[in-house]
C-alpha cells in the first residue's frame, strides 16, 4: 500500500555555528492510510519539530517529506496552505480555538476557508459536533467549555474538510488522564471510521496502547521502533 506519509532522511537544524541545535537528525518514517502512529519521546526530543515538518508548518534543513503524494519540501506557500486546508488536520496542545467564535463557528472555519456551501457546511458542523459528543454545546464559546470539550471541538475542526492526515501534538497534554483517554479513543475511532491517518506526539505512555505503531524519538533520531500493543 502506498504510504500516505513518507519522510526521507529529514533533518532540521536551528541556529548557526556554535549555537546550532539539531532538533531532528535524518529521520525517516512512513505512515499508512488509516494508521495511528504515535511518536514518543521526552521533552526536547524533537517530536514537535518533526510534526511541524510533516505538517508543512516548517521546512527541513535536509531531506524530503511527502504527504498524500505531494512533496511538501518543494511546495510553495500557497500549495502548502491548500494542503493544510484540505488534506491535513491539526490538533494543538492548547486547543487553538478562536475565543470569540462558538463551538460550531470554530468547527466551521476550515469549511469557510474551503468555500463550502452554507447548507453543506452547517450539516457537516452538526454532524461533527455530534460525532465528538458536543451537539448540545454548539453555541457555547470556548471559555464556557471544559478542557476536554474544547479539545473535542478542536478535533471536530481538524476533521472539517475530511483530511487524509490528522496531526496531533500532545492532544491530551492539558487534560486529566481520563479525559485524555477519551480524546485518544475519539481519535482512534475517527481513524477507524474514516481511514484517516493520525500521527500523534505524546509522552504519555498510558495512551500508547491506542496507537498502531509507536516511534521513539531520542535526541532527534528515531530510536528502536516499539511495536504498538494491540
Amino acid at each position: 500500500m502506498t504510504p500516505l506519509v513518507r519522510v526521507d532522511r529529514v533533518s532540521r537544524v536551528f541556529g548557526h555555528g556554535a549555537r546550532e541545535v539539531h532538533a531532528v537528525r535524518e529521520v525517516s518514517l512512513v505512515a499508512a492510510p488509516g494508521e495511528v502512529l504515535a511518536i514518543r519521546g521526552r521533552s526536547g526530543a524533537g517530536k514537535t519539530t518533526l510534526l511541524n515538518l510533516i505538517g508543512g508548518l516548517d521546512r527541513p534543513t535536509a531531506g524530503s517529506v511527502h504527504v498524500a503524494g505531494h512533496e511538501l519540501t518543494a511546495a510553495d506557500e500557497r500549495r502548502l496552505r491548500r494542503l493544510r486546508r484540505d488534506t491535513i488536520g491539526f490538533v494543538f496542545q492548547s486547543f487553538g480555538l478562536i475565543p470569540i467564535l462558538s463551538a460550531a463557528e470554530n468547527v466551521g472555519v476550515p469549511m469557510r476557508l474551503a468555500r463550502r456551501r452554507a447548507r453543506e457546511r452547517d450539516e457537516r458542523v452538526s454532524m461533527l459536533l455530534e460525532l465528538v459528543g458536543l451537539g448540545a454545546h454548539a453555541r457555547q464559546r470556548p471559555y464556557e467549555l471544559s478542557g476536554g470539550q474544547q479539545q473535542r471541538v478542536a478535533i471536530a475542526r481538524a476533521l472539517a474538510n475530511e483530511p487524509k492526515l490528522l496531526i496531533a501534538d500532545e492532544p491530551t497534554g492539558q487534560l486529566d488522564s481520563e479525559t485524555g483517554r477519551q480524546i485518544m479513543d475519539l481519535i482512534r475511532a475517527v481513524v477507524l471510521a474514516r481511514g484517516t491517518t493520525a500521527i500523534v506526539a505524546t509522552h504519555d505512555a498510558a495512551l500508547l496502547d491506542l496507537a498502531d505503531r509507536v516511534l521513539v524519538l531520542r535526541d532527534g533520531r528515531i530510536a528502536d521502533p516499539v511495536p504498538a500493543a494491540g
Partner: protein, 1058 residues
Amino acid sequence: MRLVLRRAALARTLLAAAAITATVTTALLTAFLQFAQLLPAAGGRAAVAGAPVSERTLFVTMSAGDNAQDLEERDAAVRKLFTGGLGGVPVTVDGGAYAISQRLADGRSAVVAYLDRLADHADLVDGAWPVPVPRGQPVQAAVPEAVAAALGVRVGGRIAVTDDRTKKPAPLAVVGVYRPRDAGGGYWRLAAAPVAAGGLGPLAVDRAEFLARYQLLSTVNWVAIPAADQLAGRRLEAVSAQATRLRTTEAQKLGLDTSTKVSTGLDELAGRLRVAELVTRSGLLLPALLLTLIAGYTLWLVAGLLNDQRRGEHSLLRARGAARGQLARLATGEALLVIVPAGLLGAPLAAAALRAADRRLTTRGLALSTVDIPMLGAWQGWAIAVAAALCCAVALVLPAARRGRTWVAEQQERFRPTRWAVAQRAGVDLALVVLAVLAWSQLRQYGGPLTGPAGALGIDPLLVTAPAIGVLATTAVSLRLLPAATRGGVRVAERRRSFASLLGVWQADRRPHAGPVLLLVLAVAVAALAGCVAATWQLSQRDQAAHEAGADLRISRATASVPAPAVADLAALPGVAAVMRADRGTLQVSNEATATLLAVETTKAAQVMRIRPDLAEPGLFDRMPAPRRLSGTALPAQTRRLTGQLLFAVSGTGTAQAFSTDVAVYLDDGSGLLQRVSLGTPLANRALPFDVPVPAGSTLVGLASSGRLEFDPFNEAEGGFEGTVAWTISRLAAVDAQGARTEVTAPTTWELDTTADQFLHLGEAKVTGLDVRYTVSIDAFMTNAWTFRLADVASAREPVPALVTPAVLAGTSKKVGDRVELGSSGGTAPLEIKIVGVLDALPSAPGAGGVVVDLPTYAGYRFAHEQLAASAAEWWLATRAGEHDRAAAAVAGQSGLAVVDREALTRRLLDDPLGIGVLLALYAAALAATVLAGFGLAVDARSTALRRSGEMAVLHTLGASPNALARALVVEQALLAGLGVLSGLLVGIAVAVAMAPALVLTAAARAPVPPAVLVVPPTETGLPALALLLVALLLGAVVARRTRREVITGLLRMGTEQ
C-alpha cells in the same frame, strides 16, 4: 524592578504608545484647565483697560472756596480719603480747578485752569510751562496744541479773554504749547466738563496765579485713578464697593464741603465685568468638561488596554500564589514607566501651548497673563499634571490590586457579561439619559447655564454640565445600538462567501470591550459639538449685529441742530442701494411693559430692513396696506416757493384783543411725510404777504392756525367780546425757479376741525376756499384760545395698520385683526393700531415689545389727531454687495450724523477678546479630542495586534492566507471606525441641536436677540470625523500589514501556540 523592566521590554511598543498618550493627554488637560483659569482674568483686565474713563476712575468735584487756605483744606480732605488706596488698590490722585467766568472774544468759554502735575501728563511742544507774573501783567498760560491751532496763537502771543464777573479784560499770555500724552486718560477729566460744553482749553496757568486771580466762583476737581493692572476680579469688587460708599455717603460725614459731588462708574464696571466673567467661565466650562471627559477616558482606555495585556499573567501569578500586594507592586512599577514622562513633561508642554495661545490672543488685545508664562510651567500646571498622572497610575494599578477571580470567571465576564453586569450597565445608561433629559429641559427653561436674579447670577452646575451629560447619555444609547448594527453586518457578511469579511465583522461584533469605539464616538461627538457651538456663537454675533443695526447702515442726527439729510443725497452716495426713512417712539403696552414704535417706509422695508427670515414670514410687509396719504392740492412739480397774502381780520365789540399764532400750511413732501411751513404770524387787520420756500413735488394737504382772545386784567368793563374773527389766504400761488406763478386753490374735500377752550363760544364757522371765518362770543375775563385746521383727515383718523411682536400681543391680550389703543410717550396722544401681522422681534429695538407702522400713514394719523407733522428721525440704508465699506466711508464723511454700521458692529462682537478666547477653547477642545482619540486608537491598535497574533497564527495554520487575515483586520477596523465616527457625528449633532443655541449668551448674560440658531458647519464637524476615520483605517492597515508579515514569517508551529 528587574522583572518590571523585563516585562516592559517585551511590551515596549505598547508601553511607549501608552506613555506618549498619557503625556499628551496630561499636557492638553493641564494647558486647558490653566487656560480656563487665566482667560476670564485676562478678559477682565482688557475690559478695564478699554472701559470709558468715567467707569474706571472716581471723580470728586466741589467749589474751590474763597481763598488758598480753603483750597488747601479741601485738597487735604480729599486726599485723606485715598491714603490707603481704594479697596486696597493703589490710587493716584490728581487735582485741578477751572474758572467758569472767562470768555473769549467770540463768546465761547475760555477754560482757564490749573492742573496738578501737568508736566507728567503732557509734553511741551513749544515754549515753557507758565510761572507767576507780577500784578498788572497778563497771566501766563500753556495751551493745548489743538486749541493753539484753532485760535491761531503761538508762543509769545496773547489770547483776549474777558472776565464775566468784572466785565474787564483778563488776557492770557501764551508761554507754552502742550500735547496731552494720553488724551483719553482719566487725568483729563479734571477739566473735561467745560471743554465738552463747548469751551476751549484747558488753558493751563500756574497754581498760585489761579488762586490769586480765579479762585472765586471756580470749581475744583480731583480724579482718583486706581492702578489698572490691579483692577480685576475680587480687587475690582473691593474698589467698586469703596467707591460706591464714597459716592453715596454724605459729604459732611466724609469731612468734605457740602458742595461736594462724587461720581464714579466703578460699580457699573464691576457689575458688568462680574457678569462678563460669569459668561466667560460658563462658556469655558463646556470645552473644559468635554476635554476632561475625553482625556479621562483616553487615560482610562490606555490603562485598560495595558491591564488587558497583563490580565493573563496576573491570573497565572495569582494561581501560582502571588499576593495582591506583589501584583500591585509589579503594576506600580510598570505604571511609573507610563506616568513619569507624563508627570514630568505635562507642565512644560502645557506651558508651551499656553504661550502659543497667548501670542494668538495678544494680537486681539488680550494678554493671557500679566507675567511671562514660565518655560517649565507654573506651579498650578504642575499640580494639574501630577494629579492627572496619578489618576492614570491609579487606573493602572487598581485592577492588579483588587481581589482576583478565576481565569474562567474573568473570561466569562469579558466575553459574556452576566445578567447583573448587563443590568448594572443598563441602569447607568438609564440614569444618564434621565439626567440628560432633565438637564436639557432645565436649560430650555432658563435659557442658558446662568441662573439667579440680576446681581446674583451664578453658574448652575446641572445646566453648565448639560452638554457633557448629553454627550455621555447619547453615547451610551448609541453604543447600545451599535451591536445591532454589527449584527446586521454579520448577517450581510454571512451571505457572502468571503471569510475575511466575515471574520472581520465577527471581530467587530464580538470584541470583548468597546473602549476604542467609545473613544471614537466621544472624540467625534466632542469635536462636532464644539464645532457646532462655535459656529452657532459666531452666527449669533452676526445676527445680533444685524438686529441691533436693523439695516446695513442706520443714520440719525448727532444733535438736534444738524439739518436732516436729504434722501436723494444719501441715495447718491457710493455703494448705497436704497434709503428708508424711519421714526421711533415708545408705546405703553401695559402698566409694566412698553414697546418700541418704529414707523418706517414699509414699501422699502423688505429691501432695507435686516430681519432674519425666521423672525418674520416671507412677504410680511406686503401684508401692510398701501400707505395712506392725505389728499390735497398737488403743487406743480417745479414749485420752489409759495406766495400770497395773509389777513387776520377781527371785528366786533368788547374789550378783548384778538391775536393769531403763526399760520402754517402742511405739505406732503411727495413721499407721504408732512412738512409744516409757516406762512407768518399776522397781526389783527393787517395784511401780511408771505413768500416761503417749499419742497419740490409737494402737495398742499392742510392749513392750520390758532387764535386767542386776551383780556386786560385791570379793565373790569363787562361784555367780553362778540364779533367775528377770520383768517384769509389770498393770491396763493406756487412759484417755480423761473418765477412762473400758478394759482393754488384749496381742495374741496377739506374739512374744518376746531378745538376751543371751554368758555369760548364759537358760533358756526364758515369756510370758503382759504377763508376761515368764526363768530365768537365770550364773557369771561380769561384768555381763551381756539385752534383750527383745514384738511381732509377722515381716512387718516382710522387706526394705523401695524405689525407687532408676540410681547405686544401678550401684553394687550389681542390677536391679529384686533384693534388696540396704546399710550404714547413724549406727551403725544395715544396711538390706535390695527394688528395685521406678527414678527418675532423688531430690529434695532431693545426689549421684546415692538410695533411697526407705515411712516406716511403714521404721519397722517398724527396730523389728524394732534396736528403734528411727524418726520423722519432715522435713515436706514441698504448697501450694495461688496460696496459696504465704500458706503460706510461716504456716510462717515457726512458731518453731524451718528451712524450705526452693521459690519462694524459685527466685527466688534466677533472680535471680542473673551468671545475669541472661548472660541479658541472650543476649537482647542475639538483638536485635542481628535489628537487624543488618535493616540488612543494607536495604543489600541498595537494592543489588538499583540492580542490577535495567536488567533491569526491558528487561522493561517488552518489555511487562511495572510492577505485574507489582513483583510479581516481592515474590515474590522473599517466597520468599527465607520460606525464609531457615524455615531459620534450623530451624537454631537443631536446634542448640539438640543442645547447649542441655549449656550450662547450676550456679555450681559442674557439670551441674544434674535435667539441663536444652530449651525452645523460641515468642515468643523466633518473634518475631525474624517481625520479620525482615516487614522483608524490607517492604523488598521498598519496592524494588518504587520500581522500579515508576522503570519508569513512565523506560522503557528506546534508547541508554540499560547
